[in-house]
């Protein structure tokens, strides 16, 4: 159990859980999917493979941040700016 990467994986999970609170389809939808995605890989023990999966998680974080930004930006643009011709 005392995998040196354990802390990193938990940190990733917490960060994703936090980001999921703003997910357009709701935090519950997000949490279920997040949990199943992590549980799917619970038996992975190869450090290289775990690192790869964590990197994939970091990528998802970036994508989510970009998604939230764009969503807000588009909402503001639609509300306050004339559509471009």
């Amino acid at each position: 159990m005392a995998n040196p990467l354990r802390g990193e994986v938990i940190k990733l999970y917490k960060t994703l859980l936090y980001l999921g609170r703003e997910y357009p389809k709701g935090p519950i939808y997000f949490r279920e999917r997040l949990k199943s995605a992590f549980m799917k890989n619970k038996d992975v023990s190869d450090p290289e493979k775990i690192k790869q999966l964590v990197a994939k998680g970091d990528y998802v974080i970036k994508e989510l941040e970009a998604l939230y930004f764009l969503r807000k930006y588009r909402a503001m643009k639609k509300r306050y700016y004339e559509p471009e011709k």
């Binding site: 917490k14 960060t15 936090y18 980001l19 357009p24 941040e65 939230y68 930004f69 969503r71 807000k72 930006y73 909402a75 503001m76 643009k77 509300r79 306050y80 700016y81």
Partner: protein, 254 residues
């Protein structure tokens, strides 16, 4: 230029929440509704933090006026990179009548007290859509103003601001100290990540009352009634061109 930047942040109902008007038409429902930082204020914070990262300024101070919960908004600004916060506590009746004039009085007093070189605000808040606070603050301080900024650059005691105006851009150069208001395209605000929010808990938030700044909050405005926008009328389907022309004639459009 070195010095301090004051950034105003406002706590508003989250942009994604559907706004509901109170049944007695005195305002909108705010209890139990998700709040977050005004999107334009996020852009203002980001700009100040960017200036600090370029070492053009030394300190970013985030200010918010409002009830206890406004501290969360300040916390978000601190997580985005502001150095410290000032919470001007306004609650109850004063908060209900808190408008751009009262806020700009507070900001002007704080800008003087903190000897700020720049005041950066969002151009408007998404709740009252007043678009006045920046302009009024500049007027009260008698400082130059660069509103609707879509590009800001500092150069030796001056600020070059590219402003978004109707049908184009305007570039102005103003002296500091100055007041700037951020438009949507100024930058892309960073996300306040979980570790940064945790770190922000260690940063200081000073608490003060408007009276400490010698600001009088009496409002001369009275809200008479708040209404929802009119509902869109249902459309109808017509079978043929004749039907369409007939209906249009009936409605007096042709």
């Amino acid at each position: 230029m070195s010095g301090r930047v004051l950034v105003g942040v406002k706590r508003v109902i989250d942009y994604a929440v559907k706004i509901r008007v109170k049944p007695d038409h005195t305002g909108v429902v705010t209890d139990g509704v998700k709040h977050s930082m005004n999107p334009f204020c996020e852009i203002a914070v980001e700009e100040a933090v960017k200036l600090k990262e370029k070492k053009l300024i030394q300190e970013v101070v985030a200010v918010s006026c409002g009830p206890q919960q406004s501290q969360e908004t300040i916390r978000t600004a601190l997580a985005m990179g502001a150095d410290r916060g000032i919470h001007v506590e306004v609650s109850g009746k004063d908060y209900d009548s808190l408008g751009p004039l009262q806020v700009s009085k507070i900001l002007a007093a704080l800008a003087k007290k903190e000897e700020a070189q720049l005041v950066i605000l969002g151009k408007q808040a998404i709740d009252d859509d007043c678009n006045q606070t920046g302009q009024m603050t500049a007027a009260l301080l008698d400082w130059p103003q660069g509103t609707f900024a879509s590009e800001v650059s500092l150069e030796a005691g001056k600020v070059k601001v590219v402003r978004e105006i109707d049908g184009g851009l305007e570039t102005i150069k103003i002296n500091t100290p100055a007041v700037l208001t951020a438009d949507l395209r100024l930058n892309t605000p960073r996300y306040a990540t979980l570790p940064n929010i945790m770190k922000a808990k260690k940063k200081k938030i000073a608490n003060m009352k408007p009276a400490d700044l010698g600001v009088d909050l009496t409002s001369r405005l009275e809200v008479l009634r708040v209404d929802e926008p009119p509902q869109r009328q249902a459309g109808m389907k017509v079978e043929t061109v004749e039907d369409l022309v007939g209906k249009l004639k009936e409605a007096g459009k042709v």
